[in-house]
């Protein structure tokens, strides 16, 4: 652990590797995030409309409920569970393959601190880029709900848009971003750990990558409960 969080040997190399990881882990995830968000956003809006259509509840509640669900849970916890599958398995299998093909030993032999060299740029890059993914997720989900309002007659556009703005609590946005940073750290560090300590061959790399996804998901869920208790009460 302490070998990961030391000062990099060469800042120039570290920076260029971090940028590389941001592109690979972060930017390349944007399409997936957007596709999932637009559909889930639409589904949430439809389900809200179906479940709370009662004369006692104001009709703008659909927009409001969609917004809060997205801000509170979908754009961070659920998004990170999905990303744990994509990014986590990617990190674990990449580092694991480097381990079993002796590439990590080759780094060590050159005198490179392999932990620091491989893991730190991934953790830093992914944590830094996570808020951007969350922002994309929020925007596209709400846009998905908006699409439902426009293309169906379930909800009226003006009510939906009014609902989105009603009773807005800024803290919810911060809460989502803070949670996502923790989750990004969990995904990148646990997956790196799983990959780094692989012993054996290709079979074990596969197992490590499954382990990475399962353990990061569990830790995300645990952390979700803890952070929600701490931040929302």
């Amino acid at each position: 652990m302490s070998r990961v969080f030391t000062i990099p040997d060469k800042w120039k190399v570290f920076c260029s590797r971090t940028i590389f990881e941001i592109t690979k882990l972060g930017v390349d995830s944007i399409p997936l995030v957007m596709i999932i968000s637009v559909f889930i956003g639409a589904v949430i809006a439809i389900q809200m409309q179906l479940n709370i259509s009662s004369p006692l509840i104001p009709s703008y509640s659909v927009g409001l409920a969609t917004r809060d669900i997205v801000l509170l849970e979908f754009s961070n916890s659920i998004l990170c569970l999905i990303l744990a599958g994509k990014v986590g398995s990617n990190i674990a299998s990449e580092i694991g393959t480097m381990r079993v093909t002796e590439q990590i030993d080759a780094l060590e032999i050159m005198g490179v601190n392999s932990c620091n060299f491989l893991v730190l740029p991934k953790v830093v890059g992914f944590v830094l880029f996570m808020p951007v993914l969350v922002a994309f997720c929020i925007a596209t989900s709400l846009f998905g709900g908006f699409g439902v309002a426009v293309f169906t007659d379930l909800i009226s556009v003006s009510r939906y848009v009014y609902g989105l703005q009603a009773l807005f609590q800024e803290w919810y946005v911060w809460y989502g971003f803070i949670k996502s940073l923790f989750f990004a750290f969990i995904i990148s560090s646990i997956s790196s750990f799983c990959g780094y300590y692989v012993r054996g061959g290709a079979l074990e790399v596969g197992k490590a990558s499954t382990n990475a996804v399962v353990s990061s998901s569990i830790f995300i869920l645990l952390m979700d409960v803890v952070l929600t208790k701490l931040l929302l009460q």
């Binding site: 080759a106 050159m110 005198g111």
Partner: protein
């Protein structure tokens, strides 16, 4: 000069290396030979510090690796080049990127200088025009040569090669052997090569250490190996008919 003194190493209670002593000389091609599974790779990894033996001393020109701290080991490793049994090239980098990698990490050269040096090393191993290829696009022999180029990029004082010619045809093996031998003499490097290829042993073996089941059985050079009376070594080196005949021929000629 690298001196290894009574190294013992075990994995999960099973002793792999028993009290091994060996000396590897500067400017010579030092060979570690032995059957598959005899502990050659473990010995080599112990010498470079990737595996930590339970006991023993490993002296790099007098400096004991076992007593060094992290920073000193890191410093020492900048003087070491190593070729792994499976090449261990970085998949995500091109051939040129692989050779430039150590330069980029440990020197302050400008990109142009690094490229020049990397290209010089690639030329040295007879690999030109493959700069932009990725390791997966190369043949096994080419990968080995790229790995050699990467290992010599920083002008190492100590060069370790774990089976540089396993899985290669005899002709390419000889090329690689000659290359390693040339580099060793040209730059006065302490080169240690793991092998079970008899062609290499009889071709470039200036100092041969024979490991049998984790024990150091025999030490000598390629001339002495013909006269050896050591049974295990005889069985190992002259296992094939061809080498039996070669041996008899050489002995007969010597008596004439």
């Amino acid at each position: 000069m690298i001196e290894v003194k009574h190294i013992t190493k075990s994995f999960d209670g099973k002793t792999i290396l028993h009290n091994v002593d060996a000396t590897f000389y500067t400017g010579k091609t030092n060979l570690i030979i032995g059957q598959s599974g005899s502990g050659k790779t473990v010995l080599m990894k112990s010498i470079v510090g990737l595996v930590r033996p339970e006991e023993g001393e490993i002296l790099y020109d007098g400096r004991d690796l076992m007593k060094m701290d992290q920073a000193q080991i890191k410093h020492l490793r900048e003087e070491i080049g190593m070729l792994f049994q499976g090449s261990a090239l970085f998949d995500s980098e091109t051939v040129l990127g692989n050779v430039m990698f150590p330069l980029n990490m440990f020197t302050d050269m400008s990109p142009a200088q690094m490229k020049e040096r990397a290209q010089f090393c690639l030329e040295r191993v007879n690999l030109k025009g493959a700069d932009k290829k990725y390791p997966a696009e190369l043949s096994g022999g080419m990968q080995k040569r790229v790995a050699i180029a990467r290992a010599i990029a920083l002008n190492p004082k100590y060069l370790f090669c774990d089976e540089p010619n396993s899985g290669l045809d005899p002709k390419t093996s000889i090329l690689i052997d000659e290359l390693l031998s040339d580099i060793t003499h040209e730059y006065n490097i302490t080169t240690i090569i793991n092998t079970h290829d008899m062609n290499s042993v009889l071709g470039i073996g200036e100092n041969i250490v024979f490991i049998n089941k984790g024990y150091r059985e025999w030490v000598g050079d390629k001339q002495e190996i013909y006269q050896t009376t050591n049974e295990a070594l005889n069985e190992f080196v002259f296992a094939t008919d061809l080498f039996q005949k070669v041996k008899q021929y050489i002995i007969q000629n010597a008596h004439r």
